[in-house]
Symmetry: C2
Subunit: 367 residues, 2 copies
């Protein structure tokens, strides 16, 4: 693994492909953090195993497990899934496993962004985050891929979505938050995205999903399904605080032109009825920083937009809500060549994210 410090993907002719482009595989991390996940991670592990299995139908899955959880991960996951030992602070592969870029020769490189647990000492979610922050580089080493060292810039993979053709979606709530790169202006942050993702157009949504503790990552509210097309998490209930938030995003999307000059086709993806954590569920969580991670009745940031696009499948969350089926049907129409697998994901949602947050695709070397 060569650590690249002096150039950027843009300068070297690399770009981040869209998630819907072909994958070599997918990276996940085995959950065990007892203040993130119920019952010492037991409940989440069951869901992660199901999700890993679903993705493995499409592509090679690598699951990183700590030394403590390695044997358990190896025993619970099917043989076709690779398990590697890797220290971690938690299980959000999207946010701190490498963002991969490719060039027109099919070479793959990683980007090692800085990670500070979604806001560092300002409003981050746990401390320390050193093991998470080390993972991108460790994975590039493991995969024998060169890696761009960009730890000076704080970014999580879930805070960006690209169409692979020069357009990037982000939220102001996240990228302009105080806990990430407060020394940089909006224009300077745009410049980082241009140089590292090789994009020319950045579409700034104002916000994400209500109560999304990542400072409202874009990947929970809006995602490209193809160049020129997005899904937007939506509610028709004007009483819901989310209504104004989604509406504000819709207005931006309707005005936007992508890097190719196209207007975006916006598909509304319904939200489930508000999902709130129960007293019983809160009991299953250990304390974080001597305080409860969640309080009973707290609304969780449930959204169907938080799906993973695998080569042959869409792996999406379900919440036991009537909208489950509706959202599934919409995605089926948008991804006609892929089978939709819906997995009951309440135990992941309790951790603070969903299926997209716990996966990171490796683009294919095949051209």
């Amino acid at each position: 693994m060569r650590i690249i410090k002096d150039t950027t993907p843009l300068a070297d002719g690399f770009r981040m492909p869209g998630e819907f482009e072909p994958h070599e595989g997918c990276i996940m991390i085995f959950p065990e953090r007892s203040d993130s996940w119920q019952y010492g991670g037991y409940a989440a592990r069951k869901a992660f195993v199901e999700i890993a299995g679903a993705i493995a139908e499409s592509e090679k899955v690598t699951v990183c497990a700590s030394a403590k959880q390695y044997d358990n991960a190896r025993a619970l996951l099917p043989e076709a899934i690779r398990v590697v030992e890797m220290s971690n602070n938690d299980a959000w592969a999207r946010d701190y496993c490498p963002t991969f870029v490719t060039n027109d020769k099919g070479v793959i490189r990683g980007i090692d962004w800085g990670f500070n647990a979604w806001g560092g000492l300002e409003d981050g979610l746990y401390f320390p985050w050193d093991k998470d922050n080390a993972m991108a580089r460790k994975l590039c080493d493991l995969m024998d891929k060169d890696v761009y060292d960009h730890r000076d810039f704080i970014l999580e993979g879930g805070s960006i979505h690209v169409d692979g053709e020069g357009t990037c979606l982000v939220t102001e709530a996240c990228l302009l938050s105080k806990g990430r790169n407060p020394q940089l202006s909006r224009e300077q942050i745009e410049q980082q995205l241009r140089e590292y993702l090789n994009v020319s157009t950045i579409i700034w949504l104002p916000c994400g999903i209500y109560q999304d503790e990542t400072n409202e990552h874009v990947d929970n509210i809006c995602a490209f399904t193809a160049p020129g097309e997005v899904v937007l998490a939506w509610t028709d209930n004007q009483e819901d605080v989310q209504y104004e938030m989604s509406l504000a995003c819709l207005r931006v999307l309707e005005q936007a032109r992508d890097a190719k000059g196209r207007k975006l086709k916006v598909h509304k993806l319904p939200l489930p009825e508000p999902v709130c954590i129960t007293k019983e569920e809160c009991k299953g969580l250990d304390l974080c920083w001597d305080e409860p991670t969640r309080v009973p009745g707290e609304r969780l940031a449930a959204s169907y937009v938080n799906f993973y696009i695998a080569n042959k499948h869409i792996v999406m969350p379900g919440f036991g809500d009537p909208a489950d089926e509706k959202a599934k049907n919409i995605l089926q129409e948008l991804f006609p060549t892929r089978e939709i697998v819906q997995i009951y994901a309440r135990d992941i949602l309790i951790g603070g994210g969903n299926i997209h947050c716990i996966t990171q695709q490796i683009p294919s070397e095949r051209l």
Copy 2:
């Protein structure tokens, strides 16, 4: 990774290649065990880094480092060397990283032998050894190679040498020791070697190097340099207890025929003058099982036979002895296409082995 339980390499048409056949790469483990290595492993790490660097001139080196040592390993080793996180009890890659076998299609599989720290509770060298014993399978998983599960049979990689053409060298002192497979007869042990290494002729040397605490592994006294040719650790000093031991081995080798019916050409490789650990060196070692690992004046199992055959280099130990040069010249004659790199290896010898013991080759997939 598929775990193969029902067949054997012999049945599947796989064989263990000779070490002098082309390699894909080499596996090492970063040392840190403070009762094996001086100064918390500090001295050994310096030597390991030098050895890894020398081998990396020939082939891809992967170094496994514990979570604690990962950052240090990554910082000390050159970029071209891959570092992966992996728990371990100690750093003897030869003995418990996979033995690899190949077939005539260039497919590589691993063998996961049982490992019990050179004798288990009978006369093993440390306890526990669970992390070491898990490494072969973990590495096959990491490398995406299928693996033969043969943990029921205790064997270390350093206790066998093959010519790749059907012949295997072992010592009686080791393979018939009480701490390994006492329930198996010599014939039954031979049968295991036949089925897993795909050999037809097993040459049993009576013993190895005096005081070799592995129960006298063959790889410290005798090694194939080519089919039909071996080097034998030798002393002309009849007062030395090693003299009778090497002589007994020589007699067996002179009588032997290999699998192809050839008589073996035996090249004597001189031993250095006895190397004994000093009081000062013993002070640098932590206790093992509440007892000293070594006592001042203890003779160490120094031997030049403990070299590694890399694709373009022979990486061999030096002891600061007049025989260093002599041994180097002999190996240079025997390996005319390879450059001989001699590395001062006292700090590895103190740990109980040498360069061959801390390396494990991965045969090449190229045919």
